[in-house]
């Protein structure tokens, strides 16, 4: 046999590397975001949001110093839970902020049920079921989610734009389903339709949209596009090259700066595209402008303007800090009092007032925007309308909303 007992020495050494020092007086806060793979850029901006909130409070709240411990996931639920477990069980964080992606959020919510003395506050993950179905007592979400983000867009497309039938092109996972649902539900309630055979769901990272474009029916008034990042750029440029001329309606991450800033001919034909989301880059409200200025000052190498990821992590972290101030940094009761304060917290964010419903889900403002050409020739999202106090059940009763069923490719049916 080759391997000797010195193997022990090696493994013991490796274990001892892992021990961490602890300051009894500090409050340990963990933050988890996707810092590897395709979403890494978004995860980095998320962490900027956390740091911005902490800087604002000078890393102290309620007289205690906040020690921030960060962890990465790879956007899969498994890795998010492993990361959370490491922060909670090894590093001993009392508060965890995160995660970033929709399915991760559901997994962390499930995990939070096994750790009743730790407080979990969402990052920016936007799946509906994280708080809608089987919510967890110690999981809070101060950002609005994917269906809320579409508030006002369905009515706007039907009433103002006059669209009656739309085709759908979206990525094939939970977050776009939530967005499609959020857009179609009011659109169809108003009388619009979206035939099932005009809905196209593509894998994330799809490069070639020619088959989708060829199959798009002619008898629709517009195309609702819920694609993100490179997927949106690829679809838009290929649709333009194929001579497509139908007007577009954008999802929350379809018409953002990462797409609008890209080079090429896509630019002109997206002008006039309506979209909706939790932030609007060009909102002239002083609260938002102040946030943008602070972000730009703190992170010269960040985005030109904070993304919705930085914004989401920022308000969730800020909620934690505000609640900590109120309880004087006292988490000695396993955080029960702290969570009580969190649940009743109502505070001013860069995008207006936020409060929670009884399932600890944010009720907040949503921005309806439209792409316009800016003064120096670049494309911007102009704020058309701000809808305040958008709740998760989109204005209907909780029980009635549950009857709509879970988000999926076919929901709502809307023929």
């Amino acid at each position: 046999m080759f391997v000797k007992s010195k193997l022990l020495a090696t493994s013991v050494l490796a274990l001892s590397l892992a021990t961490t020092s602890a300051w009894a007086e500090d409050i340990k806060m963990g933050a988890i975001a996707v810092l590897e793979g395709a979403f890494a850029v978004l995860g980095e901006d998320s962490m900027r949001g956390v740091e911005l909130a902490l800087q604002e409070f000078n890393y102290t709240a309620g007289g205690k110093t906040i020690e921030l411990i960060t962890q990465s996931s790879d956007a899969s639920p498994d890795s998010a839970v492993r990361g959370a477990r490491k922060l909670v069980e090894q590093d001993g964080v009392q508060i965890l902020v995160g995660p970033l992606s929709g399915s991760e959020g559901i997994a962390i919510k499930d995990y939070s049920k096994t750790q009743p003395n730790v407080t979990f506050v969402n990052g920016v993950s936007g799946a509906q079921d994280t708080t809608l179905r089987e919510p967890s007592e110690n999981f809070f979400r101060f950002n609005t989610e994917g269906a809320q983000w579409m508030a006002g867009l369905g009515e706007y497309a039907y009433n103002e734009k006059g669209y009656r039938t739309v085709a759908v092109v979206a990525e094939d996972y939970s977050f776009p389903y939530t967005q499609v649902f959020g857009f179609l539900e009011p659109f169809c309630r108003a009388g619009g339709s979206a035939p099932q055979d005009a809905r196209f769901f593509v894998p994330i990272g799809n490069k070639d949209y020619s088959s989708v474009i060829a199959a798009l029916p002619d008898d629709v008034d517009a195309i609702y596009v819920a694609l993100g990042g490179a997927d949106a750029v690829n679809f838009l440029s290929q649709y333009d090259q194929a001579g497509g001329d139908l007007p577009l309606i954008g999802g929350s991450i379809t018409m953002d700066q990462t797409v609008l800033g890209s080079k090429g001919r896509t630019r002109d034909f997206v002008i006039g595209t309506p979209s909706a989301g939790p932030i609007s880059d060009t909102w002239d409200d002083p609260r938002w402008q102040e946030f943008v200025a602070k972000y730009q000052e703190a992170f010269p190498d960040g985005f030109p303007s904070p993304s919705l990821f930085a914004h989401g992590y920022y308000i969730n972290t800020k909620a934690v800090l505000l609640a900590l101030e109120e309880v004087g940094g006292d988490l000695s009761d396993g955080g029960a009092n702290f969570r009580e304060v969190l649940a009743n917290l109502e505070f001013e964010t860069p995008t207006g007032m936020v409060k929670l419903d009884e399932r600890r889900q944010a009720i907040g403002s949503i921005f309806l925007t439209e792409v316009v050409e800016g003064p120096d020739g670049n494309l911007l999202n102009k704020t058309i309308k701000v809808t305040e106090n958008v709740n998760q059940t989109l204005g209907v009763d909780y029980e009635k909303f549950l009857e709509y069923g879970a988000v999926s490719r076919e929901n709502p049916v809307c023929e």
Binding site: M1, F2, K6, A14, I69, P77, Q90, S103, D172, S408
Partner: protein
């Protein structure tokens, strides 16, 4: 009396020390170290062991080992219970687990049937293709696999009054399974079948000329490695309590290959060493360095290991002990590694 004694006496005392250490480990390790480091290392080690059996003894590098584990992993919520209202046939556990493992082994056999007639890079490509297509299939199929979201709420069993997802019981469960397959691999490698397989690895044409069925031996190796990977897949689901396409993604398939190569393909302990290094780095690299760069640390560590020792961590260990032995006595016999080096050349 003499027969079994000689068996036990032949085992180097170092192994007993290692076993004793692993047995008392949960007594002083925290729950986190018992469950997430200990349990997860053993699970990843098992999947990498199934690759080591194929690559080390059979010379066949398969990237589909996580897929095989994934078949067993998906079988649990589909035929057992899940919280997603998709299928969930509710089979009792004593049928479910063996069935899941056998299903995975059967799948592995099919992978073997498809790929054994190829060599080297072509085996790699075929198995990669299988891994990728299975990944996309489960991600897009909602009727059977619940698509992107996968299955959650998969519970661990409770028997003998023990809930088997609690850290210490789960660790011992993994340890027992790992110890079983480890000894089985050591035993199997010296059995007639194991020796024949290694001979086929070294010279398939000569073995065919001698009258051995090269294909049958290779396919059977795929079946055996499927048993290991399938069992690991069941443990993986019990560990996570959920399974989704992300569990069996292509990046994970590459991780398994990295674990096996970094640990070393020459001895069944290699995959477990590799898994330990991988899990420790995955968990703690972010504490050592700026979080934007921690993946670089992981990559560099693996690069250094492979650069300085093509045989992985086992190779480093052997180099170190060989040096010490040389200092003790001048009578050093080089270990019989000529045939093994060919495999390494194949790998490189």
């Amino acid at each position: 009396m003499s027969e079994p004694r000689s068996y036990l006496a032949a085992i180097h005392p170092g192994w007993w020390v290692l076993l004793a250490f692993l047995l008392i480990y949960p007594w002083f390790a925290s729950d986190f170290f018992t469950y997430q480091i200990g349990g997860y290392t053993l699970i990843l080690g098992l999947i990498a062991l199934s690759l080591m059996v194929l690559a080390g003894y059979g010379g066949m590098i398969s990237l589909a080992q996580i897929t095989v584990a994934g078949v067993a992993a998906y079988a649990l919520p589909i035929f057992g219970e899940n919280a997603n209202d998709v299928l969930g046939l509710g089979w009792p556990e004593w049928v479910l687990y063996p069935f899941a493992i056998l299903l995975a082994a059967t799948f592995s056999t099919l992978v073997g049937l498809i790929s054994v007639r190829t060599e080297g890079i072509y085996t790699l490509m075929i198995t990669l293709a299988i891994a990728v297509s299975f990944f996309f299939f489960v991600r897009q199929n909602y009727a059977l696999f619940n698509g992107f979201q996968g299955f959650s709420g998969i519970d661990a069993p409770t028997f003998w009054g023990i809930y088997w997802r609690d850290p210490t019981p789960f660790y011992y469960l993994c340890l027992a399974v790992a110890a079983f397959f480890f000894t089985a691999t050591v035993y199997g490698s010296r059995s007639t079948f194991g020796l024949t397989l290694q001979a086929i690895r070294d010279n398939p044409r000569r073995m065919a000329a001698l009258g051995y069925s090269v294909t049958a031996h290779r396919v059977y190796a795929f079946f055996l490695s499927g048993l290991i990977a399938g069992t690991a897949g069941v443990l993986l689901v019990l560990f996570n309590g959920r399974v989704s396409p992300g569990t069996i993604g292509v990046d994970i398939a590459v991780d398994i290959l990295v674990i096996a190569v970094v640990g070393g393909l020459r001895h069944p302990i290699g995959p477990f060493l590799g898994a330990l290094a991988f899990v420790l780095l995955e968990n703690f690299a972010i504490d050592l360095i700026d979080r934007e760069r921690f993946n670089t640390v992981i990559g560099m560590a693996f690069l250094l290991v492979v650069f300085f020792s093509p045989d992985g961590l086992i190779g480093l260990w052997q180099k170190a002990t060989a040096k010490m032995r040389r200092r003790d006595t001048l009578d050093v016999k080089p270990t019989a590694k000529s045939t093994k080096e060919e495999t390494q050349a194949d790998l490189a």
